[in-house]
């Protein structure tokens, strides 16, 4: 099971956090501090895994952004490494060659996408196409809602005249 997902920049700035196991707010900050201390200093050729408090943290670096996932001791690390990549590929499809800035300004969208990929700490969908379709469906709904509200406000505006 994945206990949490962290996106940290090379400077140690937090870009995204998602907790699937309960951690108190104080504990969260501590975890992030501790893990960025462990992970950001690691050289490029080393393992993409860090053993930590009896769990394992699998991380992968994309440009200047580290994607980290914390898993149980008996989980398959290589699989999780690919789950990370799967997520990044989906982000890439959605944003169109995604970069860190996309995630900074649209962090809520990244959350929506993550919710379609992982649920309750497990991979829920391994088909990129299905995820893309669902996210698109949600977005179109949002668009429709926007238009609707616009038209309503137009009507109100006209009625007010």
């Amino acid at each position: 099971m994945i206990h949490f997902v962290l996106l940290i920049s090379r400077q140690g700035k937090v870009r995204l956090t998602k907790w699937y196991s309960p951690y108190a707010q104080k504990e969260r900050s501590k975890v992030i501090r501790e893990l960025s201390g462990h992970i950001l200093i690691r050289g490029p050729k080393l393992c993409n895994f860090v053993e930590w408090r009896g769990y394992k943290v699998v991380y992968r670096r994309y440009a200047s952004l580290y994607f980290c996932m914390c898993i149980d001791a008996n989980d398959n690390e290589l699989e999780v490494l690919e789950i990370i990549h799967h997520f990044v590929e989906i982000l890439d499809r959605y944003f169109g060659s995604v970069c860190e800035l996309d995630l900074i300004f649209n962090f809520h969208k990244a959350y929506y996408i993550l919710d379609e990929v992982l649920i309750a700490g497990e991979l829920q969908e391994s088909s990129k196409k299905n995820v893309a379709r669902l996210v698109a469906a949600q977005d179109s709904l949002v668009e429709a809602a926007k238009e609707e509200s616009n038209s309503i406000s137009n009507i109100i505006a006209q009625a007010a005249k």
């Binding site: 393992c47 009896g54 994309y62 690390e77 990044v88 499809r93 060659s97 300004f105 969908e125 949002v142």
Partner: protein, 957 residues
Amino acid sequence: MEQLKSFGRELAMGSQGGSSKEFLDLVKSIGEARSKSEEDRIILRELETLRRRLSEPDIPRRKMKEYLLRLAYAEMLGHDASFGYIHAVKMAHDDNILLKRTGYLTVALFLDEGHDLIILIVNTIQKDLRSDNYLVVSAALVAVCKLISEETIPAVLPQVVELLGHPKEAVRKKAVMALHRFYQRSPSSVSHLVSNFRKRLCDNDPGVMGATLCPLFDLILEDANSYKDLVVSLVSILKQIAEKRLPTTYDYHHMPAPFIQIKLLKILALLGSGDKQASSHMYTVLTEIFRKCESSSNIGNAIIYECVCCVSSIYPNSKVLDAAIEATSKFLKSESHNLKYMGIDALGRLIRINPDIAEEHQLAVIDCLEDPDDTLKWKTFELLYKMTKSTNVEVIVDRMIDYMINITDSHYKTEIASRCVELAEQFAPSNQWFIQTMNKVFEHAGDLVNPRVAHNLMRLIAEGFGEDDEGADTQLRSSAVDSYLRILGEPKLPSLFLQVICWVLGEYGTADGKYSASYIIGKLCDVAEAHSSDDTVKAYAVSAIMKIFCFELAAGRKVEMLPECQTLIDEVLASHSTDLQQRAYEFQALLGLSPQVIENVMPPDASCEDIEIDKSLPFLSNYINQAIENGARPYISESERSGTASTIAVASASQYQHDTSSVHSLKFEAYDLPKPRGPVPSIQSSSMSSLPTISSDLVPVSEATYTTREEQQNPKVQTLADQISAEIGVRLRLDGVQKKWGRQTYSSPSAPSTSSSSSTQKPSNGMVTSETIRENTLDSRKQQIPEVSAEKQRLAASLFGKKAVEKKTQAGTRRPVKEIQPAVATSAPEAPKEDKVIAPAAPPPDLLDLGEPSETATQTIDPFKQLEGLLGPGAGSDRASGPGPSVSAVATADLMSMVTDMPPIIDSKSSDKGVISSTVAKKGPNVKDALQKDATARQVGVTLTGNNPNLFKDLLG
């Protein structure tokens, strides 16, 4: 897909335009903050603003949505935004789906299952689970997974179960996952739904089927026997997937549905564990997967690794086992640290089936042990721990202790210390070595080891090691005393270790007559003085001094009171700790007694003698009778008391459950009035639960005071002695402590035959023979290089081989010879003499063999590099001359290595865009995207020359 991409882009931009200037400014200023404290200041200011805004009346809903996102942002950066949680809950209740989604998102980010506000959201979730719009239902299900706690499961369970039959597969999938979550929270809540899971396993949609494997895995982990009938169908699913029968959308890097395959393999491993019949169904499909998986891609290796795990868990079969061994050796020989790590892990699993497998990989393992990568090193220690036996325990534990001294992480220090102790207890070759090892562990990690270990050590020194040889025991004790006196010179020692030292010195310090009583007492006084703040150490020291005095007096010798000892006793007499005080008073009392009495009170070396205690305490009966006549309550025996207490506990627990099952453990009935103390009440009414426990608690307390008073009234020496020795006895009683001296768990049956057979079987296994040979020869050439030092080989020999120890020089050459065997085609059983002759002769064919593969290897690597240089000279130089030259250069190099396993389409795309991008100031593949992004960035005001130019770099290169 292109369409979707641009659509996503537009949306992203659209929402950016939608966000207010304030939010963009916030994000920007956070991005430019140079320190954590600056960032904190900005966020605190932001939170203050939000708090003010949120308290205003009639906030427009669109504005509210943005405030919530800003709160989520602050929360993400580690600040408390709890004042806004309620607004998120409210927004989730909104009818507008746009706002509802935001509400659910933020609620899921803010709240955990235990939060008080959960109760307010349950109603909203119930309503949304019934919605016609499947997107609303999906959003609610995502929230269910995060927020529903054990108490609230019943509120939504029926609806979630109903959703298992929803026409949309996305909803069915999420419903399955929600039930999986419920199972984790409270297994009993969904135990009746097993049939539903089985039905979903046959769902038309592969995604739903894949999701169903999650709850099934948990259920099977709990009780494999009830699901044995699934083996055949699971195997057939796995087979179909491996044969690419699933839609290609589930392919990932050319592997058919790898994530589902891995889940299936995990379940099969559970079902086949120790079950020959179930396992026999799996062998064919496992062989198939081993054959089909590409070991060139990461995901292929993930599946292979899971196969190895499965093989090591199910009933062994020689054919699949060989395939697993071969896969493992490929991992170990790989250059990638990740694969080495997986290889070490796999090896640890396989040696449980056959301990000899490790021997073949000894040098690879030692390389990992000396690797600078801590993760790999730690994993290797785990492997060594698993393969320790009496022949190699000394080397392994020494290594572990060296490692332990060098690490700082307390979690791992504790772990490795306890492993050292366990191995030493199990396999210690000699008592001397054991004591030394324990000393080292205590010295360097004394504060981290379990106190049990200290008691165990004391007991071992006291009892000897189970042999009848009294001489050996005394020798051991005196050597322990010697070493402890030496160690006391160290400036800083852990408290637990000092306790052991004090106890041993007190018990055996003067036993062999080597050291005078006053010398030992002086040392003990030093300890007490140096650790004056540690009461436990002081107590041990005082007791030890007391014991030495007693032994001397009992032997009829006169002991003079050292001045520092006198000061210590005086100080302790006035101590705040009653325990210390009591020890000092006892000490004084003892000094005044005659030698015969003292010998009875403190017999030498009596720590392991059983003390018989007459529990009925007959000497007190007069007193008790008198008390009862005077109106005291009679004693209620412990069993009666605990009996009543437990029924009360059960009653109250069931009542509690009853309460909690109805909403949220709020109690609406009034509490009963406390009743005056009387006989223990009958436990008919469960609402009385709190009272009787208290009154029954009172009973033993009063009893205890009686006895102590009695003791004080007639201070018999005998009781005092009882107390003291009972105290010592209690300390040493170590129930449930394992002690297995010299017992070997791994017997190694005829090692050479199996290992040689496995190596000869290799070529017959087919398929990758040439590759393995190449690798082998490559490897063996590496060995020829004198860098593989004799020291390493010696280490290997001491870790792995019994025969290797005999011929140290052979240890190194043996492996290459064995590896070359298939190539040279010599017969397997060879005389050691021949080995030696062949070994030096090996290099020529080696080189010949190597000629080709090494060339191809360079060919495969180099052209790419050259191409890269040709294709993107502009890009390369541009990147290098960017704002952060060194950083970005490293990053790109990194990315290249990371994404080498990407499908070729993307590769070609990025490389051909690379040329264009050189003109557009290091932008990503899609020029239009990049330009747009750049424009927004400018509009937002984030500049390229900020302190993090990498923000613009495409994550996928």
